[in-house]
């Protein structure tokens, strides 16, 4: 259901209709229009940067299906009790009041690339000169037999933040002595490579701090995972004996899940969990495929120097939905890519300066109170791909002061990136 403020909506339609019927010279003078699909890490940043830096010369419309945005980043800290839900939920008010962005609340269901319009679920169409697509991911429900959107009401994925995250927290807080949590980790590529393992840490933190004697079993389709050495060292140190991680060489393959029975079947054995957290395989948000922007991988190929879709020159794809070479799918990456796309779009529409693309990422993870770790890299286009130019990762055995400083840095980053997205 699309909820558009009536005044905004008629302005929108009015603007669209008028520009079609006006003579050429008048049309040429009309402000160029940028539409952004998805008001998350990529989309909100792109909309804000285009509006901010063009100082009113470009008309920006931001489409998101929700009135507020709950960040996946720091949602694990919410599970761990380090953050409340309100503190990871943000509104679009400032983007509208301070930056003049038009926010349209509703689901975009299609893109007519010939007519250059976005179609909304309620049938409304929104015209664009340039389109930014940042819809994040959709889950591939049938990548695990027995899992589905309904099953997620019992065995949450919580890989899109919101009610799913709250459901998982409720269930986590209810785990009691002698019970067991089973997580099925996702196969590559997925958003936030260290995310599942930070989540395990936060689950263990909750159990430990309440003195609940319970186990966490992780069934992973991958042979290794991000920051593995750091996480395993941390689990050993803070939660000895609590976390058991099984890669494919142990479980032999994840076959199916039965959420009613609370079981996950693998080649090795059937695992029983009082709480199941199932994170399935992922693909670009549905609108990307609907617009014909995806390739066989389910994600969108882009030009590494600009984030422009290789399929359509008027469309830029950023964030999780894009195939961004060596960059991981993260909020930091999406924010960084948004700035490159925004600069290129401004350059094309209002001839502002365009500088060579540079990208960066850092992902922090919290293992236990004041024990933060990080991994980061810089990227630049190279031979048609986004390639890493330098990188670092926290070391095992670092002293407590360094880990605490790392955690505090992540708090600073969260405040910074959300201000950078929402004003």
């Amino acid at each position: 259901m699309t909820r558009v403020n009536r005044r905004q909506f008629s302005t929108l339609l009015g603007a669209g209709a008028a520009s079609l019927s006006l003579p050429y010279y008048a049309r040429a003078q009309a402000k160029p229009r940028v539409v952004v699909i998805g008001g998350g890490a990529g989309g909100a940043t792109a909309a804000r940067y285009i509006a901010k830096d063009s100082e009113g010369a470009i008309d920006v419309t931001l489409i998101d299906d929700s009135e507020t945005f709950t960040t996946c980043f720091f949602s694990n800290l919410y599970l761990g009790g380090f953050r409340d839900f309100g503190s990871i939920t943000h509104g679009y008010d400032k983007l509208q009041s301070d930056y003049g962005i038009t926010k349209v609340t509703g689901m975009a269901t299609g893109v007519d690339r010939g007519a250059k319009t976005v179609t909304m679920a309620d049938g409304a169409t929104i015209p664009y000169d340039r389109l930014v697509v940042s819809p994040g991911i959709d889950l591939i429900w049938d990548s695990i037999e027995g899992y589905s959107e309904e099953a997620a009401q019992i065995a949450p994925h919580a890989w899109k933040a919101g009610p799913q995250t709250q459901l998982l927290k409720e269930k986590l807080d209810a785990v009691s002595n002698g019970q067991q949590i089973v997580m099925v980790a996702p196969p590559n590529p997925y958003r936030c490579p260290p995310g599942p393992y930070e989540r395990i840490s936060m689950m263990a933190h909750v159990l430990k701090s309440k003195g609940v004697d319970a186990k966490i079993i992780v069934l992973d389709p991958k042979e290794k995972f991000s920051k593995q050495g750091l996480f395993q060292e941390g689990w050993e140190k803070h939660y000895p004996g609590m976390v058991e991680w099984y890669g494919p060489d142990v479980h032999g393959g994840i076959k199916s899940v039965d959420v009613a029975a609370g079981t996950v079947e693998t080649d090795l054995d059937t695992f029983k969990g009082d709480l199941l957290n199932i994170i399935p395989a992922q693909k670009a948000g549905m609108i990307a495929a609907a617009a014909g922007l995806t390739d066989d991988s389910g994600f969108c190929p882009i030009d590494a120097t600009s984030m422009r879709s290789t399929v359509d020159e008027n469309i830029f794809v950023i964030g999780d939905a894009s195939i961004a070479g060596a960059m991981p799918k993260s909020g930091f990456s999406a924010n960084s890519q948004a700035k490159v796309a925004a600069m290129n779009i401004r350059g094309e529409l209002i001839s502002s300066k365009v500088f060579p693309a540079k990208y960066s990422n850092t992902c922090w993870s919290l293992i236990e109170t004041d024990d933060g770790v990080k991994v980061g890299a810089q990227y630049a286009p190279s031979e048609g791909k986004i390639a890493s130019t330098s990188s670092f990762i926290s070391q095992t055995g670092e002293d407590a002061a360094v880990r605490k400083a790392t955690y505090e840095e992540s708090i600073g980053w969260y405040a910074g990136i959300t201000a950078d997205m929402f004003g």
């Binding site: 905004q8 302005t11 603007a15 940067y49 509006a51 901010k52 830096d53 100082e55 009113g56 008309d59 509208q96 009041s97 301070d98 930056y99 003049g100 962005i101 038009t102 930091f332 924010n335 960084s336 700035k339 600069m343 300066k353 500088f355 540079k358 960066s360 850092t362 990080k374 980061g376 890299a377 810089q378 130019t389 330098s390 990188s391 670092f392 926290s394 002293d399 002061a401 605490k404 400083a405 505090e408 840095e409 992540s410 708090i411 600073g412 980053w413 405040a415 910074g416 990136i417 201000a419 950078d420 004003g423």
Partner: protein, 254 residues
């Protein structure tokens, strides 16, 4: 069409309005009088526990012989120092105002400040969340009083430029392109808020130009060790550093 306001103006006036006032009548978590007394008596022997607690400060402060300014001012002779009073350190307005308003670093005031830096002096630039335990604060302050009194810096130099490879005074003269700086800054503002708001990461808005450039060279050359900064600065050219300095220098400090 919605009207577009000049955003920066709005943000800044809000910041200005948002009270740079100094909490005056803050009552420090009452430090145990006996502990304070003990503190005075044992001032001869630096307590290793104090040194351990100082690790929380070390990434930003130096103390002892030849202590220099880092992210924060050196702490030699800090007990009794008027807040925000070192000539060659760029304090926040809030810190300077506190000193001008009569705040000096007695042990008692340090107690209150270190417990909750942001509550004690709203708007000050120290991004340290605070030390919760009053006992730890006492141990640290005692140690600090001891060490800082033992070695007052004769001639506090903020940086020794000759020690930084690749850095020369001439670099400070390179003209930066603020427009390029603004683009490059896109990468920085994910962590350093352009409003100067501080939360866990120091503000870089309104830093003196030479301090700004020097600190980037210090990350580049491993004199400062923070990994995220070393990564960001590692392959910046001199022109890019100058451009960033020009851009951040054009923003209004808090």
């Amino acid at each position: 069409m919605p009207t577009r306001t000049t955003v920066r103006m709005t943000v800044f006036s809000m910041l200005l309005a948002a009270g740079m006032g100094v909490a005056t009548a803050t009552s420090p978590a009452p430090a145990n009088a006996q502990q304070m007394a003990n503190a005075q008596q044992t001032a001869a022997e630096p307590d290793p526990a104090g040194e351990r607690l100082f690790r929380a400060c070390k990434s930003c402060h130096e103390v002892g012989a030849n202590a220099k300014h880092k992210v924060g001012p050196h702490l030699d002779g800090v007990i009794g120092r008027i807040a925000g009073s070192l000539e060659d350190f760029r304090y926040s307005k809030a810190m300077r105002a506190a000193g001008e308003g009569g705040l000096a670093w007695s042990e008692e005031n340090l107690h209150a400040y270190l417990a909750k830096p942001r509550d004690f002096i709203p708007g000050n630039r120290m991004s340290y969340r605070g030390m919760a335990s009053a006992e730890d604060r006492t141990t640290l302050i005692t140690w600090l009083a001891n060490v800082s009194a033992a070695a007052p810096a004769e001639n506090p130099v903020s940086e020794q430029t000759s020690a930084i490879p690749g850095f020369s005074e001439a670099l400070l003269e390179v003209e930066g392109d603020p427009e390029y700086g603004e683009y490059l800054a896109g990468e920085c503002v994910t962590c350093h808020q352009p409003t100067g708001h501080v939360e866990g990461i120091p503000s870089i808005v309104g830093l003196p130009r030479d301090y700004f450039i020097r600190s980037l060279f210090e990350y580049k050359n491993n004199i400062r060790s923070n990994e995220v900064m070393k990564l960001r600065v590692g392959n910046l050219s001199n022109e890019e550093i100058a451009a960033l300095a020009a851009y951040f220098g054009s923003l209004e400090p808090q």
